[in-house]
């Protein structure tokens, strides 16, 4: 079995998380990805020493997971020699991925117009904060600006309440998933037509897409969708606190058969036929009352006791996990949603796997991320540069 993108070459001119994750998806699927970094410091994420109060332990897990299996080459595109090397790479590449700002790309001579002239078959994938047009097109963007600007953040909470702090990289990775879908559309089109093109999405656009059902419904009704309080939310699609201050999420269907099953599962059979809850319509009417009953009920057992009690039931429910607990979740392990990687000098680490299954051409989680500029010389030699050329470029500072 081969990976689906074997033989595809990607030039990665990305920083932070949105761009790097996009090309990491391609690397997992067998593409050769050459990451171009500034000789002065490289990708800013190389220096991250912790996330949200959780220190890096042994390896920079954040940087690593979106760079692994790539090659790193340093090039300072302010130097003509470096720019020429970049162009040589692009001539032979299938895909170029970037999330630098538009103005910077033009100044460095790696904008779409320039590169597509050089290689008309090139797929030029661009991630921005705010889109290709409009007054905000040159403004910086980070994931939270997309989440905030799309309206999504307000629907996590009740009206007027401070929205939650956003988990690191969650937004970037979602936008990257959308961009890489666009890349594959373009690659498929090129396979059929021979033509490359520009593929673009923004953090704002990607988040509006993920919130599209809330956006469309709110616009039509001219009424904003907010989060709802625990008491207001449907009793059977809600989370309940357990004895040990943990939570169980239930997502039981509205139908009466599911209700009956649920009553049996949690030991409230006596409510099955209760006129307040027996039929769907009355359950909906008396949702608050049911929420209070379930609040009390779930407090009688710890989360792990509830897991044991619910394990055999096939209606939708889940424990609200903590991140570290995933490593011992049998469902996670059996599906290879976490895989073990061996880090030289660190030992074994568990990391999130490919998490999409392709029966004939599965992806793979490859070895760790490259050191800054680890492959610069190798790549230049492949392009036909001599050692003399390489030394000259080092001396002027175009490469590390």
């Amino acid at each position: 079995m081969s990976a689906p993108l074997e033989g595809i070459r990607v030039v990665d001119f990305t920083i932070q998380a949105f761009g790097p994750r996009t090309s990491e998806y391609l690397a997992e699927m067998g593409a050769e990805v050459i990451k171009i970094e500034s000789p002065r410091g490289g990708d800013p994420l190389r220096g991250v020493d912790g996330l949200r109060g959780v220190p890096s332990y042994g390896f920079n897990s954040y940087f690593d997971q979106i760079q692994r299996g790539k090659k790193s080459m340093t090039l300072d595109l302010h130097f003509e020699s470096a720019r020429q090397a970049m162009y040589k790479l692009v001539e032979d590449a299938d895909i170029f991925v970037t999330n630098l700002r538009l103005g910077g790309l033009e100044r460095l001579g790696v904008d779409y117009d320039t590169l597509s002239l050089m290689n008309p078959r090139l797929i030029y994938a661009l991630g921005t904060g705010w889109g290709l047009k409009g007054p905000g097109r040159n403004r910086g963007g980070f994931e939270v600006t997309g989440v905030a600007g799309s309206g999504m953040l307000t629907s996590f909470v009740e009206r007027g309440v401070r929205p939650p702090t956003w988990p690191p990289a969650l937004g970037d990775y979602i936008a990257a998933t959308y961009l890489v879908y666009g890349v594959m559309l373009a690659l498929y089109h090129r396979e059929r037509s021979g033509r490359g093109q520009l593929v673009h999405t923004s953090l704002l656009g990607a988040f509006m897409k993920m919130a599209a059902c809330c956006v469309d419904a709110s616009l039509y009704a001219n009424q904003d969708m907010y989060g709802m309080s625990h008491a207001q939310e449907g009793a059977l699609y809600n989370s309940y606190e357990t004895k040990d201050n943990r939570f169980i999420q239930i997502a039981v269907m509205h139908d009466d058969a599911s209700w009956a099953q649920f009553c049996e599962a949690v030991g409230i059979e006596y409510l099955k036929e209760d006129p307040r809850f027996g039929a769907y319509e009355v359950r909906r009417e008396n949702s608050d009352a049911l929420v209070s009953i379930l609040d009390e009920l779930f407090l009688t057992k710890t989360q792990s006791e509830w897991i044991e009690c619910l394990e055999q039931w096939q209606f939708p429910w889940a424990p609200v996990r903590l991140l570290t607990e995933l490593a011992s979740d049998p469902q996670v392990i059996e599906n290879d949603y976490l895989v073990t990687i061996d880090y030289p000098g660190v030992g074994k680490a568990k990391v999130v796997g490919v998490n999409l299954d392709l029966s004939e051409t599965p992806g793979i989680v490859r070895e760790q991320a490259p050191e800054l500029g680890q492959h610069t010389e190798e790549i230049l030699l492949d392009l036909g540069y001599t050692w003399d050329d390489i030394i000259a470029m080092k001396e002027e500072g175009a490469i590390l």
Binding site: L170, Y178, C213, D357, L358
Partner: protein
């Protein structure tokens, strides 16, 4: 300009949001999508009358979003004749997409083994709740269970707090994006080799993939990452309340070199040279003091006044929007992130666009979702069935 998936035929046996959004992505890009619906129940989302208190009205935004541009064939796959129709359609299809439970698919004869024998070039795409293996593989799931068990929601709140309910369909659409990407990988592979395959994504796996920065870091450190209180955030990467109880999100990264510019934007010029704040290190040390200063400043103006004032600055910031405001946001309109559609019943409606730009083969938001079984007869006639056959099938309730 043509669309990238023109000529591609998709058979859609999906319900709710995860599966339907996957094929909606393909429909936007030009694929012909035939949706199989049960004649008795139809797609359950057809009947939703409100979401989180936002009423549906004449325009079923939620259903339209995930089903527009598709054809509907209403047939009951419990009947042998309907199954024959499905197999005939499979012979001519490139892609089959489903998110029914695996047990049900086997009972209906629509599992991967059966369909790949009918058409070895078929790409069989399946979305599940929990993965193809493991003790929960047959359990039902909705996005909330994926958010819970992947620990995504734990990353949104402080330890011990009740996790928020995520915006409707956000998780389904995220997982659908990942599945649509997988389909494109398989389609590309088939174009090069002629080989079809099964592709699979689960809600659990997709949520873990987009949370992987937090997961990998937490597992490596053996310490869970949670949401932070306002004072725990970086002062320049936080959300501030305005005079009118709205919010402005700042997303200025730590090594930002434009402190003086930032002070000017905020009207805090007197802090230009303040040693507590004028370098990255000192700002980090005096984070809490800076947050209280910014808390006070932001409360002096309404959100719209802040937008006006900040508009010209290119550092990353965003208003925390409500959904209904998106339709008048210049940035959104100029990028066609919201487009107008003509709905036969509701008139002009505004909906989220494709929000992904393909310069040579753009997608298109097509109006409108089909009525239940709108294309049943048309599709059967194309397959070579006669009107007599169709009448018999109707009499037997095989079709609607």
């Amino acid at each position: 300009m043509s669309m990238p998936l023109e000529g591609i035929k998709v058979l859609d046996l999906t319900v709710y949001a995860f599966g339907p959004q996957t094929t909606a992505y393909l429909a936007e890009m030009g694929a012909e999508v035939i949706k199989i619906e049960n004649p008795q129940t139809g797609e359950p989302i057809r009947w939703i009358d409100a979401m989180r208190e936002v009423p549906v009205g004449k325009f079923k935004a939620y259903f339209e979003q995930t089903n527009r541009g598709k054809k509907s064939i209403a047939m009951d796959l419990h009947h042998e004749k309907a199954r024959d129709v499905a197999y005939k359609l499979i012979e001519k299809s490139d892609i089959f997409v489903t998110n029914l439970r695996m047990g049900g698919l086997e009972r209906l004869g629509m599992d991967y083994e059966t369909l790949s024998r009918v058409n070895p070039r078929l790409i069989y795409a399946i979305g599940t709740g929990w993965g193809l293996k493991g003790p929960a593989r047959n359990r039902g799931a909705f996005e909330a269970t994926g958010f819970a068990r992947s620990a995504l929601v734990s990353g949104l709140v402080e330890p011990g707090s009740r996790p928020p309910l995520c915006p409707p369909a956000f998780g389904d659409y995220t997982a659908a994006t990942f599945l649509a990407y997988s389909i494109m990988l398989a389609l590309f592979h088939r174009e090069r080799t002629g080989e079809g395959q099964m592709v699979h994504v689960s809600l659990l796996g997709a949520c873990m993939k987009v949370m992987s920065a937090c997961i990998d870091t937490s597992i490596a450190a053996g310490k869970d990452m949670f949401g932070l209180p306002h004072e725990g955030d970086g002062a320049l990467y936080s959300m501030y309340q305005t005079k009118d109880k709205r919010w402005i999100q700042l997303a200025v990264v730590q090594d930002y070199r434009g402190w003086v510019e930032f002070c000017q934007a905020m009207g805090l010029e007197h802090l230009n040279d303040d040693p507590r704040f004028n370098s990255f290190e000192s700002r980090r040390e005096n984070n809490v003091a800076l947050i209280s200063i910014l808390d006070e400043v932001f409360l002096t103006r309404n959100q719209s006044e802040w937008i006006e004032r900040l508009e010209k600055y290119q550092f990353p910031w965003a208003p925390v929007r409500h959904f209904t405001e998106l339709a008048s946001d210049t940035q959104i309109l100029e990028n066609d992130y919201i487009v107008s559609l003509d709905d036969p019943e509701a008139g002009e409606v505004k909906v989220v666009g494709t929000t992904i730009d393909l310069s040579k083969t753009p997608g298109q938001i097509r109006s409108k979702a089909p009525e239940l079984g709108q294309h049943t007869e048309e599709i059967l006639l194309e397959l070579g069935y006669t009107w007599d056959d169709i009448i018999v099938m109707k009499e037997q309730s095989t079709i609607l």
